[in-house]
Every structure is written in structure tokens, then in C-alpha cells.
Symmetry: none
Subunit: 200 residues, 4 copies
């Protein structure tokens, strides 16, 4: 074994350093040198492992998205009903592991990157669609198809919106407050649904 561990260890160190550096800077305008230094290695080695700055970014993005996917997965396991599952997905989005300011900033930076970089865009869309399907699949067991689509869109937008506001603004509710607001959004739809059902 070499000075600081196996390539796997070092690749992960680079990915974490990338996220930290971007989160701290609030931009993708970070240099490979900064990232490498934070990861305790030379910029040359960073290139050796990933080939290019772009690929470092993509790897970090994949890491963040995969992390989120796992958080969702874990929470879904204990959910018993469609409503539970929807609420689990919402909660996953505001899980502490996702919601530290730096992570959120990195997340948004990668989000923006999808505007420029087709590979980043593809990566993002794979996860976005999976999440959307997941929401719709469960919503459709409660609402009619059209409404399910709408609620899914509304939920996803609200979550993204809170992410951006959380990163940028000061007078935003805290983690639990935000979580609650999104859960309330679902609750409001359920209430309306119930009324419709009753009146029927």
C-alpha cells in the first residue's frame, strides 16, 4: 500500500474535497489545485485519477446523487403505505446528510452545471426521472393520474426551491420547518382529496 492508501481511497478523498471546496466557494470556479490540496495530494495526481477536471466534477456529482438515492432507499424500506412512501421521499430530501449548507451549495452548483454540460445534464436527468417516477407511482394510488403528476411536480419544485433558498437567504425556516412545509403541501392535497371523496 502506498503513502496514503489505495486508489479507491484517494478517489473518494478527491470527490469529498471537490464537494467541500465547491460548497465552500459556492461555485464551480474552484481549481484542481485547490481540490487536490484539500485532498492532500498534487494536482497531477488528481488528473491521473480522473483524467480531467470535468470528470472530477462528474464523479462528485454522481457521488452526491447516489448518496441521495441511498438516503431515499433507506427511508423507503420502513414505509408501509403509499402515503408513507411519499412522505419518506420528502423526508429524505431534508435528511441531515443532504441538508448541510455546504452540501446544498455544491448540489446547486452541480445543478447549474447541467445547463452547460450535456453529460452533467444527462446524469441529473437520470436521477430526476427516477425520483419523479417514484413519486408518481405512489401518488397515483391516492390521486387520479393528472393530479398525481401535478402533485409530483409541485413537491419536487418546492423541494428544489427550498434548497436554493436555504443556500441563499437568511430568513428561511430551519430544517424541520422546511420539511414540515413540504409535508403540509402533501397534506393539503390529501385534505382536498378527502373532501371530494366525502362529497361523492
Amino acid at each position: 500500500m502506498s503513502k496514503s492508501g489505495t486508489p479507491i481511497v484517494r478517489r473518494k478523498a478527491l470527490i469529498l474535497a471537490t464537494i467541500a471546496e465547491i460548497g465552500e466557494a459556492g461555485t464551480l470556479d474552484v481549481t484542481v489545485s485547490q481540490i487536490a490540496q484539500r485532498a492532500g495530494m498534487s494536482p497531477a495526481l488528481a488528473h491521473h485519477y480522473f483524467g480531467s477536471k470535468d470528470k472530477i466534477f462528474l464523479a462528485a456529482m454522481r457521488y452526491i446523487l447516489e448518496n441521495f438515492r441511498q438516503t431515499v432507499s433507506a427511508r423507503l424500506k420502513t414505509a408501509k403505505s403509499p402515503e408513507d412512501r411519499i412522505r419518506a421521499i420528502i423526508d429524505a430530501s431534508f435528511d441531515s446528510s443532504q441538508f448541510e449548507r455546504e452540501i446544498v451549495a455544491a448540489w446547486l452548483a452541480f445543478y447549474m452545471r447541467a445547463l452547460q454540460s450535456p453529460p452533467a445534464r444527462r446524469l441529473l436527468q437520470v436521477y430526476a426521472r427516477r425520483l419523479h417516477s417514484n413519486l408518481v407511482f405512489n401518488l397515483i394510488q391516492i390521486f387520479d393520474a393528472a393530479t398525481a403528476q401535478q402533485v409530483a411536480q409541485g413537491l419536487a419544485s418546492m423541494i428544489d426551491g427550498f434548497y436554493i433558498r436555504r443556500a441563499l437567504q437568511d430568513r428561511v425556516p430551519d430544517q424541520q420547518g422546511i420539511r414540515q412545509l413540504v409535508q403540509d403541501y402533501l397534506e393539503l392535497w390529501l385534505e382536498r382529496e378527502n373532501r371530494i371523496d366525502q362529497s361523492a
Copy 2:
């Protein structure tokens, strides 16, 4: 008068060019040369007018925010009730003038910039607070104070969220669909409020 008009004209040309360039690129990674060229002048002149790239960006940001403020103002004039006024603010956010893909991309780019640049952050917050006050002022005439805060946060987040999704993803409702979804969010709250009132 010079080749292309008064300083005011040229400053505006630069600002519009900045927004267009950023919107097109989907990043703040645009060069002063690109901006100046699109505005039909030399990069040196751009500096002469604004002093630095940072200040060009700030001016463009101010322009976008001010534009939005005016759109809101215009729509508020014809609103008669608190509810009308809230709906007017929502509609302003999805006014065609705000919602073309390039404008949205520029808007988001400036949003992100607030993460790095304190002046940009201040600028953004001035407008965000004004908008928030505006919403809360009207909401509080319908809801109790705490609920008004929540609805205001929810609305603002949903709007921001749809902006980011609109810029980035493909399967998102169109302009009217999005507008309707946000209006529905308000509607849902109003429905709950009515029930509470009735049951009281």
C-alpha cells in the same frame, strides 16, 4: 453624440448583452469580450463604463430584479383584494417577460452568484425581503401571522423551484401549467382556511 448613442444607451446595451450572454451560456463563465462584442463595443469601453466585470454583473442583476419589481408593480395596480394581490404577485413571476428560458438561466446564474459575492447577496436579499413583505402583508389579511409566514415561504420556494426545474429539466409543465400549480397551492391553503372558518 457618439457612434452608438449616449452612455445610458450603451450601458443598457451592455447590461442586455450580459444577460443574453449568460442566459445563452447558462453560466457566469462569460468573458467581458463576449459581452462587449455582443453589445457592439470594445471590452475596454465596457470597463470604462462599469469599472470591472463584477460591477457589470451587479448592474445586470439589478436590472433583472428591477424588471421583476416593475412587473409585480404593474400587476398589483389592478388588484382589488388581498387575494387578488397575492395572485398578481404569483402571476408576475410567470409573466412571459420573466419566463423565457434564457432569462431564467440568467436569473439562476445570478442567484448562484449570491453565494460567492457579498454585494450580489445583499442585492438579492433586498429584493427577496421586499417580495416576502409584500406577500406576508397580503397573506396576513387572510391567514393568521404564523400561517401567513408559512404560505409566503411555500409560495416563494415553489416559484424558485419551478424556475430551476424549468431551466434544467425536460418534463416540466409549460408556463401556464406551472402558474396554475402555484396558484393551486394558494387555493389549497384557502380551502383549508375556509373549512376552519366554517367549522368555527
Copy 3:
């Protein structure tokens, strides 16, 4: 006018610096910085004028080839007979302006570059073919077609060969000696031709 002259002047300065630097180093392994410094400007300006290192090289190559073409042209003007014209072309190749060691080294370096760079190769071939046509056109008035082709090939190779030897080896005849050897080659062919004619 700016500090050091018009763009044309500076472009030419860069081209000459490129040739000198390559000639001195005997390789294309010279940095843009070295070239720019020798031309009295910053590397950034060199890029501004030519766009890339490759294009600097191509411009220098074009300059050398064009220079040679002009030398040939000038000498051809006073030639009266086909034989005179062939001899003029030979002499042009060993004109002092072409035959300084540094120029020869640069020439060879560019020659080699044609092995890697398609644009360089095209550039070279345009000139090579023109020269070949020129030789053949005149030779064919003395020899039959097949022989004319052979003599043209032989002459061109001998000239190239002396260039490379001149640059690399020590015990090579001087400029006039070399020139004479190539002229002799033509002479030998003419002698054989005469004998054939006489015996006919």
C-alpha cells in the same frame, strides 16, 4: 501607432523570431514564451496575433516557403533557355538567403513537422509540387518525358540531401561546392543526352 509598431510588423517579428529560435534549437521544441521574448513581446500577445502555437509554426513555414518561391522567381526572370531556368532553380536553392545554417535547420524542422501535422504537410506539398512542375516543364524541353521525371527527382533529392547534410555534418563542401555538385548532376545528364543525340 503603438509601442512597437503595427500588427503587421509584430507578426513579422514573431515569424522571424520563430525561425531564429527553431533554427538555433534545431527543433520545434521551442516554447511560445521563448519565441515571444525574442520578438520582444509577451506570450499572450503572440497568441493574440496567431491564435495558437500551431498557427505560429504554420505562418513561419509559409514565410520560409514563400521566401524560397520568391528567390526562385527572381532568378528565373533573367534565364533565357530551359537549361538556364533549371540552373536558376538549382542556384536559388543554394542562394545565401536560403542557406544559412539556422535557416536550413528551421527548414528541416518544418520538413519533419509535415510528418505529424496535416496542414503542414499540405503546405509543404503545394510548394514541392510547384517546384517539381517547374523543373519538369523545363527538363521536358531537353529530355524525353520519363527522363525528365527522373532528373527532376534526382535534382530535388540531391538538394534536400545537401540541406540535411549541411545542417548536420561537418565535412561537407561549402555553399559553392554543393551548388556545383548539383549543377554537375544536371551536366552529367546533359552529357549523356548529347552522346545519345550524336550517336543517333
Copy 4:
């Protein structure tokens, strides 16, 4: 014995890989990694065997030159007269083993390298002088000393010239055509010599 043979075997593999790589690239701009990979070993091992990239190049050059020397030697063995021996040397230069395009490109690259690297230059000159002596030794038995020198220079230049043209240009005679043209050059001198003798 190790994975791939004795050090001698591996050194030779590296040398052949170097020649192949340079021949293919048409430049000395090949990396040690490329060479080592083609030779089936790590760059570190290549360094271990040769000490530096420079020394790898020198070894490859020595190999090429030695190879040529042996080709000449072999052909000289069956030659009976001075003329035969001169013709044998010419033929050796266009032996198939020397005249494949890649070998020629490598040969020229090393030739050029002599412009930068004194050791390379020395190496080249040792062989060049030996060849020259060899030619002159035989020529002097046919021509007077001054003419012998000239013919030797002419032959050597023509050979070098055809090498460079063969590598670079498209409309060049094939191997046999070239060989014949150089042999013709000798023939032309012999014809002249005969006439002089006859007229004497």
C-alpha cells in the same frame, strides 16, 4: 528468468518499441510511457534499464545505425570490384529492411535529433564518416581523389534526400525506382570517366 525475459531481451524490446513509436508518430515527441507500454512494461522499468529518456533515444539510434552497418557489411561480402562495392553500399541504403516508411521516419527523426543533442550528433558522425571513408576508398580506385570526394558527397546526399522525400512526399518513385536513380548517378560519372579515358 523474469516475466518477459532477460534484461537483454527487454532492452531490445524497448529499443524496437522506441523506433516503432517514433516512426509512427513521425517525431521524437513520444512519451516514455508510450514506449514502455508498447514494449509491454512500465515506464519505471524503462528508466531502470536506460537511466533516462535521452539514453533510450541514443540506444535506439545506435541500433538503427548498427543495423545499417550490418546491412552494408553483408552486401559488401559478395562484391568483387570497387564498382561492385559502391553499388553494394547504395543498395544497402535501399534495402527493404531500411526503407519501410516507419523506419525512414524514425531515421530522420534521429537525424534531426543530432541538431540538438551533442551525443546524438557524435554518434551519427561516427557512422557517417565510416560510410564516407568506405565510399571514398572504393571511388578513389576509379576516380581521381577530388572527383572521388565529390561523387561520395553526391551519392550520400542523394540517398539522404530520397529518404526525406520518401517519408514526406507522395509523388516519389518507389523503392526500386529510387535505387535505380542513385545507381544511375554513379553510372553517369562512370560514363564521363570513360569518355575522358578514351579521349586520353
